[in-house]
């Protein structure tokens, strides 16, 4: 076994100097949620060292955005985290509104909250489905999650025209108003979601195999989570009370009394359960929002759509996306195109602690820990 540098470092750190097996999981691997590679150093089945390798899906998103006008950067944000395009739009539009100082009318704020919470619902449901798929439940939870997701995607298609690439929010509001009957249809979809959650909990929550596979696996200690900048359900599962909706009070989230679930151990089971409980909270928010939304203008009349030239300056707009704190940092030099367009990708930052969570576990745990971190490679590689 030629001693590659990794093996030297592994050996110097006093790890058993048995025959170390170098295995490369990915980029073409059934459970890496996209093109993502892990160089895993194995001692038997125990992980000794894990180096993540990504960049296979890098599409030069930020340089393209610096060439295009502010408006034409919006469709690209759909492709960042291709599961939750609505929340990506909102984060970008929020930072441009801060940069250019554009106000947003009441009805548009309600529509933004409704679409963001609907996105959070099916993102967490899909996460639970993929996590169980990695654990071996042959697609059953995933199919149930996808069945609910289809209903919500139909709502988005009737509202914005496309199921996944919505390109719906504009600076100062939304592109078009809710088609009539959309609110009633959305209420129907929402009413069907809580029985789906009960079905999910009946299928999985007390499942001994799920508990055995995920308790004490991939523990993320509090301090490491804070220092590594992990955000979103992963951070809250380690017991840190940080939800951008409660911290920044952006949009009209103050009007919705929702609670933030926190875990204790920060292992895979906590990350799974925190997301299930967050879905319950989102349902409450949506119930209230769908009731309170009132007719009115959906876009600020003064907001310019084309050749928007915000005055020179910088702005950082961030929202609580389903995967964590998604932020856009824009620097404007007064011209029609942003001078600097920087995305804060929660998936990538949550991924940096993958090695610390995986060391000491076996191969089958690595797959589950990666699944519980909930990454989307479009956002990791940008």
């Amino acid at each position: 076994m030629i001693a590659t540098p990794e093996i030297q470092t592994a050996r110097t750190r006093g790890i058993a100097n048995h025959e170390l097996l170098e295995v490369s999981m990915g980029p073409h691997h059934p459970s890496t949620h996209g093109v993502f590679r892990m160089n895993v150093l194995l001692d038997g089945e125990v992980i000794v060292k894990l180096t993540p390798v990504f960049g296979y899906l890098h599409r030069n998103h930020e340089k393209i955005a610096e060439k295009n006008s502010y408006l034409s950067a919006i469709p690209y944000t759909d492709r960042l985290d291709y599961i939750c395009s609505m929340t990506n739009n909102w984060a970008y539009v929020l930072s441009v509104e801060k940069l250019a100082g554009i106000a947003v009318p009441e009805r548009a704020e309600y529509i933004r909250v409704i679409t963001a919470e609907l996105t959070r619902l099916f993102n967490h449901a899909c996460l639970a489905g993929f996590l169980l798929q990695d654990m071996g439940a042959l697609g059953t939870p995933l199919m149930y999650a996808f069945r609910e997701r289809e209903k919500i995607l139909d709502l988005f298609e009737s509202l914005t025209g496309s199921r996944m690439m919505c390109n719906y929010l504009r600076f100062g509001g939304c592109r078009c108003d809710l088609p009539d009957g959309w609110l009633k249809q959305a209420a129907g979809v929402l009413a069907a979601f809580s029985p789906f959650l009960d079905q999910f909990e009946a299928l999985l929550d007390e499942n001994e195999i799920l508990h055995a596979r995920s308790e004490g696996v991939g523990v993320l200690p509090r301090e490491l989570a804070i220092n590594a900048g992990v955000t979103g359900p992963g951070l809250r599962a380690s017991g840190v009370n940080y939800d951008v909706r409660k911290v920044d009070h952006y949009g009209i989230y103050d009007r919705f009394p929702f609670r933030v679930p926190l875990g204790e151990h920060g292992d895979v089971l906590d990350r799974y359960m925190v997301r299930i409980l967050e879905m319950r909270e989102s349902i409450k928010i949506l119930d209230q929002a769908l009731r309170e939304i009132a007719p009115g203008p959906i876009i600020d009349p003064k907001a310019k759509l084309r050749n928007l030239r915000p005055k020179a300056g910088e702005a950082y707009g961030r929202i609580e996306g389903p995967k964590g704190e998604l932020g856009f940092y824009l620097i404007s030099d007064g011209g029609p195109t942003p001078y600097r367009f920087r995305v804060r990708p929660p998936s990538l930052i949550n991924l940096t602690v993958l090695e610390d969570m995986c060391i000491g576990h076996s191969i089958s745990d690595v797959v589950i820990i990666l699944g519980s971190v909930d990454i989307v490679l479009g956002e990791v590689d940008r």
Partner: protein, 199 residues
């Protein structure tokens, strides 16, 4: 049992016996001579299985299936595990030879053959005719095991359990730190974190 055997069937049995005996010998020789160890292991398993065939020809079904279960099912796997864990790919040819000439080899072989063969031929046991096969051989074996031969059975049981415990103790002592979860060595992030947190 089956009706008295016409001549043709007896002759067929002779041929069948010689065939399986040849099979056993071929497998055994192959197991000794093949260069790659895994092939040797497979040939050994083949030899055990064809030995079971011989027992079947002698209508000793219980012994044949016990042989199949114990030898092919367990001991062959044991050999294979041994090969896997010690990770020996090729049989190393530099084993020192006791002496150059083959005459010594033949002499030793002849002595060994005599030592084994003579007692088998001279013992009175073989002179007695084979006992008539009974209707339910398995039941008889069961009764004999539990009545006349119960002491050897229990002794073997004790022997096997002690061997098992011995194996567990050896395995346990050999690599305690690998079997239990690797105690968390410091990782780059944790190291960075120690410096970050003020003393």
């Amino acid at each position: 049992m089956s009706n008295p055997r016409p001549a043709t069937i007896v002759m067929l049995n002779e041929i069948a016996f010689y065939l399986t005996a040849a099979l056993v010998l071929i497998f055994a020789i192959a197991a000794m001579t093949l260069p790659r160890l895994v092939h040797c292991a497979v040939c050994a398993a083949g030899a055990f299985a064809s030995l079971a065939l011989i027992y079947l020809e002698l209508d000793a079904e219980f012994v044949a299936f016990a042989q199949l279960l114990v030898y092919v099912g367990a001991i062959a796997i044991l050999i294979v595990f041994a090969i896997l864990l010690t990770n020996l790919q090729e049989a190393d040819p530099q084993v020192r030879r006791a002496s150059r000439s083959w005459v010594v080899g033949v002499a030793v072989a002849a002595i060994l053959l005599a030592a084994l063969g003579l007692p088998i031929i001279t013992t009175p046991l073989l002179q007695r005719a084979a006992p008539a096969a009974t209707a339910a051989p398995v039941r008889d074996i069961g009764e004999k095991l539990m009545t006349t031969y119960v002491l050897p059975l229990e002794m073997i049981g004790v022997l096997l359990t002690s061997a098992l415990l011995g194996a567990v103790v050896i395995a346990m002592r050999e690599e305690p730190e690998v079997k239990t979860k690797v105690t968390r060595p410091t990782t780059p992030a944790l190291e960075r974190q120690e410096e970050l947190t003020p003393r």
